[in-house]
């Protein structure tokens, strides 16, 4: 899809005027964010810029002090993680929230197991897991291997696949490559592109600008809790983004 077509599409999820404070610390101030299908929106910023708070708000873990979320043109509140998932926002947290002793299939369906009567339906779950991982071109040594035996990149892939199981519209990834090596980072970024190309909107929260420039369609910069610029990733230069992150805007570049 062309950039123009994507921008013409109504946003799947929008944040409007979201603010949140921890006591006297204003972590987010009047933040707007649109996420559409078929696009990767990167949220970047320095440590303490409000990225994690934004993830918390999107995932429903944090209820913001002000502002609302617009889903399908309707204003609503994300007051719990379950509600956020129900509205189509799936979040992969930085710690991945996997159970290391459980195998890949068990982790994919953790908390949403398929049952046949009172018993778990392992065959159905394994079939669905195989289909999903094949669709994402994710390779694991065995579907029945404990997650403890997987590489960091494979774990990230399992966590992303699990988030996609609920058929969300928007996938929020919190620092997906923070602890990965070069090869595995490349694998995860390829996976992010594949997720985007299947029609999902992706919010990529990262402080790794190389990753961001590799996959993002738009880059949104947070600085001290406020939006400090929004860039088209194909056009913006590394220096422009760094300037927006650090707060020294180069001349001619309008910060919103």
């Amino acid at each position: 899809m062309s950039d123009e077509a994507i921008l013409a599409e109504p946003a799947a999820i929008s944040l409007r005027g979201v603010s949140h404070s921890y006591g006297a610390v204003r972590a987010l101030v009047d933040v707007d964010l649109d996420v559409r299908g078929h696009e990767v929106v990167a949220v970047v910023g320095d440590n303490g810029a409000g990225k994690s708070t934004l993830v918390g708000v999107l995932s429903g873990v944090l209820v913001p002090d002000a502002g609302e979320v617009v889903v399908d043109g309707r204003e609503t509140q994300l007051t719990s993680p379950g509600l956020a998932r129900g509205l189509g926002i799936a979040t992969v947290f930085q710690d991945l929230a996997l159970c290391e002793d459980l195998d890949v299939v068990e982790n994919l369906f953790l908390g949403q197991e398929i049952r046949r009567g009172p018993m778990l339906d392992e065959v159905a779950m394994e079939r669905e897991a195989q289909r999903l991982l094949a669709q994402l071109a994710v390779r694991v040594p065995s579907l029945r291997a404990p997650v403890a035996e997987l590489s960091g990149g494979q774990r990230q892939a399992v966590a992303i696949a699990r988030a996609l199981l609920g058929e969300p519209r928007v996938l929020v990834l919190d620092e997906p490559t923070a602890s990965l090596g070069v090869t595995q980072t490349a694998e995860v970024l390829t996976l992010v592109e594949r997720v985007r190309d299947s029609g999902f909107g992706v919010v990529l929260v990262s402080h790794n600008l190389a990753d961001v420039q590799a996959v993002a369609d738009r880059v949104v910069v947070l600085r001290r809790g406020r939006l400090n610029g929004e860039f088209d990733a194909d056009v913006a230069s590394y220096e422009q983004i760094v300037a927006a992150i650090t707060g020294v805007a180069p001349p001619g570049e309008a910060a919103r």
Binding site: F93, V123, R139, E149, R155, S179
Partner: protein, 392 residues
Amino acid sequence: MSVLRTPAGTVRWAGRDLGSWPVLVALAMLWLVFQAANPNFLSADNLVNLALQVAPLGVLTLGVVLVLLVGQIDLSTGAVSGLAAAVVAVGLSQQRWPGWLAVLVAIAVGAVVGAVYGWAFTRLGLPSFVLTLAGLLVTLGVQMRVLGTTGSLNLPFESWLVRFSQQAFLPDWLGYLLAAALTLTYPAIRLVERRRRAAAELPLEPGRDLAVRTALLAVATLLPTWYLQTNRGIGASVALFLLLVLVVDLLLRRTRWGRSVRAVGSNVGSAHRAGFAVRHVYVSAFVACSSLAALGGVMQAGRLAAANQGSGGSDTNLTVIAAAVIGGTSLFGGRGSAWSAPLGMLVVGTISSGLTLLNLDSAPRYIVTGLVLALAVTLDALGRRRAPATGR
């Protein structure tokens, strides 16, 4: 550095779960050693006795396995079993309750203790180690008070509990029938599952593996059945214990509750975010553990036809934890199976029985059991350490 990590797809099976093999090997070695030292050890008579001794403590161990799986510990199962023994003895010999009522009240007492643990752990956030240590002391005191001034009560020999625990054995035909049913049920379930997997185009295990495993199962069920039945046979309490193991195994592997237990023990934060009711999982594990401990205490009282201040005392609290770990359940939570209870308790019981046959006192029994436990914990820790080495 993360760059040095093995590339995707080549993660080796270094941290592979060895399952029950180490404990089976240990058991085989112990049996050979004791048989060499005393030719009576592997006699049918001694093995029937061994099975009867192991069953009540095995039920306690089964409960401990559940608590270890959620990553907690219960130091008081022995004391709870002693309290249940006292309750059932008072009920039968003093209150003249019907047997079923005495047994039910004793198990209910255990369930209440577990519910208190669960409540204090999930609501007050007390560490289970100290919580159950406190419970141990309280339970011991209550046990003494229940027993009254004599401190010891005999169960009427004619009560069905005593007959069930001491003299009831499966009839030969029933023993063979159950062994054959187990041997045939396993491949039947696997074949049904295999057909569904084939329909779902999932990889199938080679048919030869299934045949080999079925054959091993046939040997593992029919041979002991035959051998024990050359003597008195399979005790009713042993059959009850094995039934409980089968039920708990099924619950752990094939139900959502079992999945939640392992998930909570593996990573409680992840389990919570996955939507499991973590508090309920903890409470259910503590209640199941204490209830099983109470049932084990009732069986023990029946076997000895008595309850006294020493019931469930001395080293019982710790022996059953040792047995669970020796059987292959991790002290770190998340890994283990119901089968660690019979296997681990069989090792502990073998050491005890073998050394008794050699007319040795408790000293070598404690030392050998302790060394085997140390070995088991080492395997546990190694398995745990090796696993993350391949990850991030």
